[in-house]
């Protein structure tokens, strides 16, 4: 029996051996479709593709993508520009009729995707800060662009929702319990982020593609912030800086070229390729154009009152407004391609030079530089084929001129990034303009409601008034 005893002992040893080596055995390598966050910021190349990823996701996200739940669509519905194609489409009707409910899923999409982009920007900023090995060059680009993106998103959040939680880290434990910050505090953060971006970003576009924010993109956006904050002088200086780059930016004479990829009017565009579906058209093209035969795909139509506001000779009416004979509906036709898989020809416009002229016109008018303002406004009117104010009404008064500028902003920037909705709120006459057609209008409707699911999951969040 002695051998037996030995054999038992050996076997127990063998089993123990197996067991102890298990600890090692269970350590598996990271799979090749994932990269551990720490590794992402170990070298320049990977860190830069995280930045590419941020832009790709901006092009794909609800908030920024120009699609069905984008700022472009929802804010245009809420203003006097766009109407739902079907009155049965309740989620859109709620925006259109200012009867928004906190559980509107499009509003939830809007909010959720905005904070997802903020998370990605914050993750990039934290990754850069923690990294010791990436080059200074890459570091400044990453920080500059990520901060720009963060400022850009907060600008829309604060305008659409008022006070919102200001999230600057990726720690879900604290972010899950965030409270709403005052608008002033958010604007301060926006300005500080933008200033960092201005300080860090270079003036050139990468490979001639206007799909990355450069120095002028940050300056142009800062010009808008200063305009909104009514710092007229600063707004004028900043927009002038962009306008003066005549080698890079110009107002294109042909309206049908404005929204083409890398058009000279573009300051920042998003490429549909970044979405990663196989379509090469913009979401705006897909959503707005009413198919001549298959109109049942359509979701939106232009508000007929808005279409009527164009002078008949306005080239924007003929070039940027489409007409669908069978339904007699008008639709936004800035983007010409509804559905395509061929080579990409149009990019989704985020910032363009025409807005800078309008910013400067307004800033100059506010500083009583009427002739300067008129010349900026005429730049836009000239292209639209309208009579120049300098010719027909050179002695125009300030208030009258400002009113014209707002009308021009509406006609120039319609269905682009909710300009009209934000303008109405900024000037404070949303109710005046929209109230007539919407008897249920309430002053509290200038803000969208905080989405219901957010209130359910975060006890520290409060709802906007009126919801």
């Amino acid at each position: 029996m002695k051998t037996t005893a030995i054999i038992y002992k050996v076997m127990i040893l063998v089993l123990c051996g197996f067991f102890i080596s298990c600890e090692d055995y269970l350590e598996i390598d990271v799979p090749d479709h994932k990269i551990v966050s720490a590794t992402v910021f170990e070298n320049d190349e990977i860190a830069l593709s995280a930045l590419d990823g941020l832009y790709n996701q901006i092009a794909a996200a609800h908030f920024t993508g120009g699609g069905a739940s984008s700022v472009t669509v929802l804010a245009a519905l809420s203003s006097d520009i766009l109407n739902p194609f079907y009155t049965t489409n309740l989620p859109y009707m709620e925006f259109d009729q200012h009867e928004l409910l906190p559980d509107n899923f499009r509003n939830t999409n809007l909010w959720t995707s905005a904070y997802n982009i903020i998370y990605m920007s914050n993750a990039l900023l934290e990754g850069v800060a923690d990294s010791k090995s990436i080059s200074q060059d890459v570091r400044t680009r990453l920080e500059g662009e990520a901060k720009f993106v963060r400022a850009f998103i907060y600008f829309y959040l604060v305008n659409l929702y008022g006070e919102v939680p200001l999230i600057l880290t990726t720690d879900y434990r604290t972010n899950a319990l965030a409270t709403r910050n005052p608008e002033e505090e958010i604007y301060m953060q926006i300005k500080s982020d933008l200033q960092t971006a201005i300080d860090l970003l270079g003036v050139n576009y990468l490979n001639g593609e206007r799909t990355r924010v450069n120095y002028y993109g940050a300056v142009a956006f800062m010009a808008r912030i200063e305009l909104y904050k009514e710092n007229w002088e600063k707004a004028e200086i900043l927009s002038s800086e962009v306008i003066s780059q005549t080698g890079t930016y110009e107002i294109l004479e042909n309206l049908n070229e404005v929204f083409l990829a890398n058009s000279k009017e573009a300051i920042w565009q998003l490429s549909p390729i970044g979405r990663g579906d196989n379509m090469t058209n913009t979401h705006e093209g897909a959503n707005f154009i009413i198919d001549p035969i298959y109109s049942f795909f359509a979701q939106f139509k232009l508000n007929p009152i808005f279409v009527d506001s164009f002078a008949t000779e306005d080239k924007r009416l003929t070039n940027w407004v489409g007409f669908h004979p069978a339904t007699t509906y008008y639709y936004p036709y800035k983007y010409k391609i509804r559905n395509d898989t061929e080579e990409v020809t149009e990019y989704s416009m985020v910032l363009r030079l025409a807005e800078q002229y309008l910013i400067r016109a307004e800033a100059r008018a506010m500083q009583d530089n009427i002739s300067g303002a008129v010349s900026d406004l005429d730049k836009i009117r000239e292209r639209a084929g309208l009579d120049l104010i300098a010719n027909v009404d050179p002695g125009i008064g300030r208030e009258q001129l400002l009113e014209l500028i707002f009308q021009e902003r509406k006609k120039e920037l319609f269905t682009e990034w909710g300009h009209r909705w934000l303008d109405l709120k900024r000037i404070g006459n949303t109710g005046e303009v929209l109230g007539e057609a919407h008897p249920q209008w309430q002053e509290t409707d200038v803000y969208f409601p905080i989405p219901e699911p957010e209130l359910l999951t975060n006890p520290n969040l409060t709802q906007n008034d009126g919801y």
Binding site: L15, P31, Y294
Partner: protein, 1000 residues
């Protein structure tokens, strides 16, 4: 620490070498005496072993008591053995009473063996790492054998189990061949749909039970990984249910274990089995829909009621389309006949020490849908079994290989169109066979078969191979090793020619194709030591083992675009560009140590401890390990003196078990803080919040059972009560999106409880030489409940589950009758806010099964056999298609909506009416009884007279007819009560096949 591991490995290696040397030495040592067997006065004894009916029994073990050598009978029941006068010859065969004969002078022995119906003890049941018997088992194991399932013309072996096992709920996937059915053993344990798969083990080798992804029409359910197994090659399927049986599988046993054992060769006989059957499948049911006249009448009335003038846009069925035309769209879509052909060949042979079995099969089945599509599979299997001369070494190799090819229409809506299309809608195909675009286009519609020329071709190859080696070191101790390798590849191409789409898009759309390649591989090594020692009146059995398993997964998906010609689609070199390419690799490693200790005393008392310590790479660094274990006990009280020799009660056993199992069914690498590639080119992005802390779901199982046998076990009754509590639920914990994401993977203290009662009865109603009748009955009364879920209101499950209710519920509006003013359906606005939201869904209805089971009967009279199985289910379902007036066809019953005071709302085509209808669909109004009693399968066989066959050199011959879903008794007015939500889905085709089986 690293150093220490290195040293340990060396120690382990040396120990192994030592061990192996010892084994070799021992083996030779023990071998020697065998040559010294008593050779004096040996004589050759021959004979035939037959059953009571006089039929020869093949494979009976014949050996001399006390000796290790023996033989087995051949197909004619004949044997030859050398023995000495005075030796006791022992004849044993599974299911028969052993026979012992003391050899006198005779040289011929004809033995008659009697079936051992009174003993449950003999049939061995596979319990995974060990075998047990019905009589001695301490756990709950259900079993079906080849005879019950092998003739069924189904693709997945799981489908053949429907209605046969208590506690096992199988719901077919759908109407396309190869769709994965859902199997649930004792209910749903996990809140996550994908966390409820049982563990599949084929010949000792675990196989991933998650359905394979697909881009084809199978994408909803996925593809069942068991499809490529040959049903005819399965010897038995055991399902382990309670803690005692499953705890040895630790973290993989929470949802039960399905053990599949394939057929082995029988020693001493060579034989060839041939089986062929063919037949057809059709869809047995139709929904009674409106005909053209009724439909148009309702539509006209709708416009009149609405005060709306019909126009070509809102009433093309009235204005543009032929008012007389009638098409039975159900017949058009699924009225086809699908042919089925199946061929099986198996050859086996060997001698008393070595046996093998080789098998092959071909199965082909068409589709009931329009178009030329089919499913084909070819399988091959090999099994080799060897026992050394001294019975010490046993090697068993099993290889199962299957290839299938499934060609389906690509991405077409084949289901709801059949019910929704107005009966006077234009033809789908032109006379030349092309899709009719023009006539549909006039109404601004797409052809309902848009996409028809898209074709998906899914091919998979599945290899499951296992090698089991065991060696008897000493009398009491054996060393065992199980080695397994599996590989499952599937390749899928979906071809999308432009002509499949509306010509209006042709300008912008290219010919394109999607490709999906998936590769799953795994290997497993399980060394084990088994100790068996008789002690007095009892026995001790011990088992200790370890598992090392690695699974790799590889997936590659891409799309090709811009083919210049349709014939080139799929040939990626001819594609203008390749887009949306993605690939994913993942690895899963699993290690464990497990053991079992089983004691029995006096064949009366049994106790069984099982345990496992599991490590999984799916969890974060500190959460990789967990322990699971169970205790099970049984008391055969019929052996106690008050019951012994009781003429009425012949067997009685009480059984109990309690223990824990777990589930690690979540994605790999979830704990990593990582970036992934964006769908757009060149980018990386964080895809989730990470949580390194999450861990196993734990399932505590309790069972108590009683098993009784009456009148020499002619009537057997099994009654089991179980309660499984699954806690520590791994769910997406919902976060506000200010965190960047909407949830994080975490364990929640939510508990799901499954409890229920299972009753199994088997009875031999009649038994004589000519006539034999057996009945099996099983019924399960399950109860599922979400016992607790702190914070469910804030979670994404708030509108899906409710604490105190089963998981399989729907939250519905309360139907309030028809609004007398506007004549439309009305549901209760509970919170009176003028809107209908989830707060108004105050009715909770359980759509789970209230009870289910099956009754099967086996009858034989002379050469005739008849088997049939009824399956029954008590449950609720919902019904759709009663929106009279809407632009789509409806149930014929809605015709009464034209009358006053019907149960349906006023006929209307307005959007308010449609909204009211959609709302009432989500109310208790649409809930109906969907219970059914279905003749699931019926087999009639005739054994060809043996005299006739003998002349042709055939041992056995049988012709048979098999029918599936021949008859269903239900009040449910949908297509198929097995898929009772809405009513348009169906799975069970009526299949009738006939065939021939020959044994050479």
């Amino acid at each position: 620490m690293k150093n220490n591991f290195g040293r340990f490995k060396i120690i382990v290696l040396i120990s192994l070498i030592l061990l192996l040397s010892v084994i070799t030495w021992k083996a030779t040592a023990v071998n020697a005496p065998n040559f010294l067997d008593n050779q004096n006065a040996q004589q050759e004894v021959t004979g035939v072993v037959t059953g009571l009916q006089g039929l020869p029994i093949a494979g009976v073990a014949v050996f001399i008591k006390g000796a290790t050598k023996g033989t087995v009978t051949n197909v004619n029941g004949e044997f030859t053995i050398r023995a000495t006068q005075g030796d006791t010859l022992v004849f044993t065969y599974l299911g028969f009473k052993p026979v012992e004969v003391v050899l006198e002078q005779e040289s011929t022995l004809n033995i008659q063996m009697e079936e051992d119906v009174s003993s449950l003890g003999e049939v061995e049941i596979n319990a995974g790492y060990y075998n047990t018997t019905r009589r001695e088992s301490t756990g709950n194991i259900s079993r079906v054998t080849a005879e019950e399932i092998e003739l069924q013309p189904v693709i997945s072996p799981l489908q053949a189990l429907q209605g046969r096992m208590a506690g096992v709920e199988i719901i077919p996937g759908g109407s396309h061949p190869a769709m994965a059915p859902t199997i649930q053993i004792r209910g749903r344990n996990s809140l996550r749909e994908e966390g409820n798969y049982p563990l599949y083990i084929i010949d000792g080798v675990p196989v991933n039970s998650t359905p394979m992804e697909s881009n084809s029409l199978l994408s909803n359910t996925g593809i069942d990984p068991l499809n490529t197994l040959n049903l005819s090659n399965i010897e038995s399927i055991e399902v382990l249910k309670d803690a005692d049986a499953t705890a040895i599988y630790g973290s993989r046993g929470a949802n039960g274990v399905v053990l599949i054992t394939t057929k082995k060769g029988k020693g001493g006989t060579s034989g060839l089995d041939l089986r062929f059957y063919s037949g057809t499948a059709t869809v047995p049911n139709r929904i009674d829909l409106l005909n053209t006249e009724q439909y148009l009448q309702i539509r006209r009335q709708a416009f009149e009621n609405d005060g709306v003038e019909p126009s070509p846009t809102n009433a093309y069925d009235l204005m543009l389309w032929d008012q007389e035309r009638y098409t039975d769209w159900q017949d058009f879509f699924f009225g086809g006949i699908s042919p089925i052909t199946d061929l099986n060949v198996a050859g086996s042979g060997g001698n008393e020490n070595t046996s093998f079995r080789l098998g092959g099969s071909y199965h082909k089945q068409g589709t009931v849908y329009p178009g030329d599509f089919d499913y084909q599979k070819v399988t091959g299997s090999f099994n080799l079994n060897h026992i050394s001369e001294n019975k010490k070494l046993n090697i068993n190799l099993s290889v199962n290989f299957g290839v299938d090819d499934n060609v389906l229409a690509g991405n077409v809506n084949l289901e709801t169109n059949a019910f929704r299309l107005p009966p006077n809608a234009p033809a789908v195909f032109l006379e030349n066979g092309e899709l009719n675009w023009e006539e549909w286009g006039e109404a601004g519609l797409n052809n309902p078969l848009e996409g028809f020329y898209n074709r998906s071709d899914t091919q998979s190859q599945n290899l499951v191979s296992g090698l089991g080696v065991s060696y008897h070191i000493f009398r009491n101790l054996s060393l065992k090793g199980n080695f397994g390798y599996t590989s499952f590849n599937s390749g899928e191409v979906v071809k999308r020619p432009r002509r499949s789409l509306n010509p209006a898009y042709w300008q912008n759309i290219d010919h394109s194709s999607s490709h999906l390649e998936i590769e799953r591989k795994s290997w497993i090594i399980e060394p084990q030591l088994v100790y068996v020692k008789p002690m007095g009146k009892g026995n001790i059995e011990g088992l200790i083992g370890a598992t090392f398993q690695e699974s790799t997964y590889h997936q590659m998906a891409l799309q090709g675009e811009g083919y210049v010609a349709e014939s080139l689609i799929g040939n990626l070199t001819a594609a203008e560009q390749i887009i949306n390419a993605s690939s994913e690799n993942s690895k899963y490693r699993y290690a464990a140590i497990f053991g079992r200790l089983s004691l029995d005393w006096d064949k009366k008392y049994f106790i069984n401890f099982t345990g496992r310590r599991d490590g999984s790479s799916r969890f974060g660094p500190d959460k990789k390990w967990a322990n699971f274990g169970a205790i099970g006990g049984a008391w055969v009280f019929s052996e106690e003196s008050p019951f012994r020799n009781n003429g009425f009660l012949s067997f009685g056993k009480l059984r109990m078990s309690y223990g824990t199992t777990g589930s690690d069914q979540i994605g790999d690498y979830g704990y990593l803080d990582a970036y992934e590639a964006t769908p757009g080119p060149g980018g990386l992005y964080p895809t989730q919040l990470f949580n390194p802390e999450y861990s196993w779901e734990v399932n505590k199982k309790l069972e108590a059972a009683i098993e009784l046998g009456f009148i020499k076990n002619r009537l057997n009754l099994g009654l089991s009560w179980y309660r499984n509590r699954s806690s520590n639920q791994l769910v997406g914990y919902v976060l506000p999106s200010t965190t960047g994401f909407s949830s994080i993977q975490a364990n929640l203290p939510a508990t799901v409880e499954n409890k229920g009662l299972e009753i199994e009865i088997s009875s031999t109603n009649f038994r004589s030489k000519k006539f034999h009748w057996q009945t099996y009955f099983n019924i399960t009364l399950p109860h599922n409940e979400l016992v607790s879920y702190p914070g469910i209101e804030q979670s994404s499950y708030a509108n899906i589950y409710k604490v105190g209710y089963p998981l399989n519920i729907s939250l519905l509006y309360q139907y309030e009758g028809i609004d007398p003013e506007i004549g439309l359906y009305q549901v209760l606005d509970f919170n009176e806010d003028g809107r209908y939201g989830y707060e108004d869904r105050v009715v909770t209805r359980n759509f789970g099964r209230k009870f289910f089971g099956g009754i099967s009967n086996n009858l034989s009279y002379k050469n005739f056999t008849l088997q049939f199985l009824w399956e029954f289910v008590k449950q609720d379902g919902t019904l759709d298609f009663f929106n009279a007036g809407h632009l789509s066809n409806q149930r014929a019953a809605t015709y009464q909506a034209l009358e006053e005071n019907s149960i349906y709302q006023q006929v209307s085509a307005s959007s308010q009416a449609n909204t009211a209808y959609l709302r009432v669909l989500s109310s208790d109004f649409s809930v109906v009884d969907a219970s059914f009693l279905r003749l699931r399968t019926l087999t009639f066989g005739y054994a060809l007279p043996s005299q006739l066959l003998k002349r042709a050199g055939i041992q056995n011959g049988k012709i048979f007819l098999n029918g599936q879903n021949l008859f269903t008794l239900t009040e449910y007015e949908g297509m198929d009560p097995e898929l009772p939500r809405g009513g348009s889905r169906f799975a069970g085709t009526r299949t009738i096949t006939g065939g021939l089986q020959l044994q050479f």
